[in-house]
Structure formats: structure tokens, C-alpha cells
């Protein structure tokens, strides 16, 4: 056994509860690693469905999952139960937003960031700082990635370091730049190594720098960020103003990283009547459905609707177009 963990550390891992928020590229590598490490309780939250283009980097999924149109959280849970039957793995098909993020991470000892957008990360940062839950930022694009550990009360939080999201359209996305598996594996592995230290009670060993990796440059750097917390200017961790949690109107549309798609979601609870919706949609396009979702090809769009009313409109990156398609064929 690795001396840095030891029998006592392994026992602690078996009692730990980790939430993977997002199970795309980073999240699937991280969940796989943590399940095999023996994390006692693993909750995997993801809003998305496995698609063929995911398979190049999202290691938990396969072509069967694509064919069956399985939600990633469901596919991940099934896979990881076969990997390690001694742990409790739960997949939650859900979109994290300001009204549910605190419930999603409640009781977690640590959260792994597997999100694919800034909005979710700032929301996660607010929730984790508010509740004193450590979380580990990770993000990738192309061959480049970043990671940073946030220990509320000890280290800078995300908003200390990244003061705000870039304006829309400014930065490259998975749509424009792609992302390669090696950097995903590097960043998720760094996230997991730090997680293992924290979960075994060794916070003093945690790297407090921002780590950047570029696998195409074969370059790994550690950049100092720890003093940013001491500036006392952070609205989140210095002033405890949780602006993202307090959003009166959650963003209802999100352009999805890596695909020509827009998600439409609703903060309030809804339950979609699949029978009624599929009967209506059958007149306009071919409908496919399973227990979790309903999918229909309409004009140049593929619309996937989940039980809670959330939809992914594939075929556009324009929120207004997606809203129009939703309103026209699903009904708001």
C-alpha cells in the first residue's frame, strides 16, 4: 500500500463522500479514479446524454451507451458499480443551478469540478465557500488545462483568482478548439491526487498553487495565487456575498461546450408528460424515448427533453433560436 495513504488513510477514504459535479471528460476520469481508490460514497451529477463525440476522451462511456442514449450519470453509475461493488455510487441526472446546488453538495466531504462552463463553477464556488466544503477546480481546452484546490477559510477561492467570466464569444471553447484526452487525464489526475490528500486528513500536503499543464508543450507550471485571499477584496470568501447563489433569475439557456447545442432549463420543478409530448411530436418528426428522455428530430434540430422539462436543442448555438424551437414544439 502507498505509504502516503496507509491503512488509516484507506479507512478514511472508505468513509468519505465525494460529489463529482459534471461527468464529461474531467468528471469521468475523476469518478473512475476515485471509485477505484475506494471512496465510500460517490455522487455523480450530470445533465447530459452520452454522444459519440464524447468517446474520444470521456473514459467511462462506450458505444452501447451512445446507442442507448443513456444519461451520463446513469451510464457512469452502471459502469462504476461494476468497477467497485464495495462502494456506494449514485448517478443523479440533474442540471446544477442556483436553486439546487446546495442540496446537490450537501453532506459532501469534497466536490470535484467536472463542469463545462464558468457559470456552474462560480455557483459551485459560492456553495462550497458558504458551507465550508473543499472543492477542486479543473478545466481544459485544447492541450491546456488548469487546476486549483479551494479550501474555504484557508486558500483563495475561485473568485479570488478568477474575478469574473469572460464575455460571451471571447474565449475558445471545445467547439472551436477541441480538447484532447491526455490533458483531460492530467488535470483530472491532479484533481484526484489533491482530493486523496484532503480526504485522508493531510490538508497540509495540498498544493496551494494554480497548476497549469500543456501536454503539447510538455509544460507543467505552478503559479502562486495563495496571497490573493489576503487582499480581502473577494466578494465571495472575504465578504460572504454569494452573488451566484442569490441570482434571482437563473440563466435559462446555456450554450454547451463542444457541440452545436443549447440547453434550456428551468429552476422550478416540472414533470413532463412524455406520452402527451411524444404524441404531439410524432406529427413533426421521428421520436425516440426511454425512461429518462425523449428525443425528436425537428427540421435541422435534434431536441432532447428530460423528465423535468429541461431540453437540449442540438443544431444551434443561439439561445434565442433554441428557445423558439422549445416554445414551438414542446411548449413553455
Amino acid at each position: 500500500m502507498f505509504g502516503g495513504i496507509g491503512p488509516e488513510g484507506q479507512r478514511r477514504l472508505g468513509q468519505a463522500h465525494v460529489v463529482c459535479l459534471g461527468c464529461g471528460a474531467l468528471g469521468s476520469v475523476a469518478a473512475n479514479t476515485l471509485a477505484r481508490a475506494g471512496i465510500g460514497r460517490l455522487t455523480i451529477v450530470d445533465r447530459d446524454v452520452v454522444e459519440e463525440s464524447n468517446l474520444q476522451r470521456q473514459v467511462l462511456f462506450d458505444e452501447d451507451d451512445v446507442r442507448d442514449a443513456l444519461p451520463k450519470a446513469v451510464a457512469a453509475e452502471r459502469r462504476l458499480r461494476r468497477v467497485n461493488s464495495q462502494i456506494d455510487v449514485r448517478g443523479l441526472v440533474a442540471d446544477a443551478h442556483h436553486a439546487n446546488i446546495e442540496a446537490l453538495i450537501a453532506g459532501a466531504d469534497l466536490v470535484i469540478d467536472g463542469a463545462d462552463n464558468f457559470e456552474t463553477r462560480f455557483l459551485l464556488n459560492d456553495a462550497c465557500v458558504k458551507h465550508g466544503i473543499p472543492w477542486i477546480y479543473g478545466a481544459c481546452i485544447g492541450s491546456y488545462g488548469l487546476s486549483m484546490v479551494v479550501i474555504p477559510g484557508e486558500t483563495p477561492c475561485l473568485r479570488c483568482v478568477v474575478e469574473g467570466a469572460p464575455p460571451p464569444g471571447l474565449t475558445p471553447t471545445c467547439d472551436t478548439s477541441g480538447v484532447i484526452g491526455p490533458v483531460v487525464n492530467m488535470i483530472a489526475s491532479i484533481q484526484c491526487a489533491e482530493a486523496l490528500k484532503l480526504l485522508t486528513g493531510q490538508a497540509h500536503l495540498v498544493n496551494r498553487d494554480m497548476v497549469t499543464v500543456d501536454v503539447w508543450d510538455a509544460r507543467v507550471q505552478r503559479m502562486k495565487v495563495h496571497a490573493l485571499r489576503d487582499l480581502g477584496a473577494c466578494p465571495c470568501c472575504s465578504h460572504r456575498r454569494f452573488e451566484h447563489l442569490a441570482a434571482e433569475h437563473a440563466s435559462q439557456t446555456t450554450t454547451l461546450c463542444g457541440r452545436n447545442s443549447v440547453q434550456i432549463s428551468f429552476p422550478d420543478d416540472h414533470t413532463i408528460d412524455f406520452d402527451a409530448v411524444s404524441a404531439r411530436l410524432a406529427a413533426v418528426g421521428r421520436v425516440q424515448r426511454n425512461a429518462f428522455l425523449l428525443r425528436c428530430a425537428i427540421d435541422t434540430y435534434d431536441v432532447t427533453v428530460f423528465r423535468d422539462g429541461r431540453a437540449i436543442v442540438e443544431g444551434t448555438r443561439e439561445p434565442s433560436v433554441a428557445r423558439s424551437v422549445y416554445a414551438k414544439y414542446i411548449g413553455i
Binding site: F118, C140, P166, M223, A227
Partner: protein, 92 residues
């Protein structure tokens, strides 16, 4: 005037013809950015906003120190320093 290297991470290289390192002569970080405004305008627009402030999703480091811990864009540069412009990214 010290000669320094501005290091450009991968996500920003499309805005400077793919170059990873840009040699610049400048006394301060702010002066280095002004040089980029002239020599690499597309890159500059991605790094600084319309008011000339460094955009909020980016951090600028001199060697491994964040300039916000130093004197911001007034941070003095020395011969051979490496100025790294580090963008946060959103993919996952």
C-alpha cells in the same frame, strides 16, 4: 530597458500567429501590455478590455508571482523576467 519574454499559453496563441513567446522591451507589466497593443492587437483585445484593464478571467504573472500580489500593471520588470498571461478556461 529590460528585455523580457511574454509567455502565451495555448488558448491565446491563435491571436498571435501561434507564437508561444513574444520578446518585449519594457520597464513594467503595463508597458509590456502597451507594446502588445501595438504589435499584437488581436491578442491585446483578448487580454485587456476596452478600458485597458486586464480582463477578469485572466491573471498575469511575473515569473510565478501574480501581479495582483505585487504592484499590478505597475510591477517593475527585470532583465530576463517571464511575463505569463494565464487565461481561465471553461471546458471540462
Amino acid at each position: 530597458m529590460p528585455s523580457v519574454i511574454v509567455f502565451i499559453p495555448g488558448p491565446l496563441r491563435p491571436y498571435c500567429a501561434g507564437r508561444a513567446e513574444l520578446p518585449v522591451d519594457a520597464d513594467t507589466v503595463g508597458e509590456a501590455l502597451e507594446v502588445l497593443e501595438q504589435s499584437q492587437p488581436a491578442l491585446y483585445r483578448n487580454v485587456c478590455d476596452e478600458t485597458g484593464a486586464v480582463r477578469r478571467h485572466l491573471n498575469v504573472f511575473v515569473n510565478t508571482d501574480n501581479v495582483r500580489d505585487l504592484d499590478g500593471v505597475r510591477t517593475a520588470l527585470r532583465q530576463g523576467d517571464v511575463v505569463t498571461i494565464l487565461p481561465a478556461v471553461s471546458g471540462g
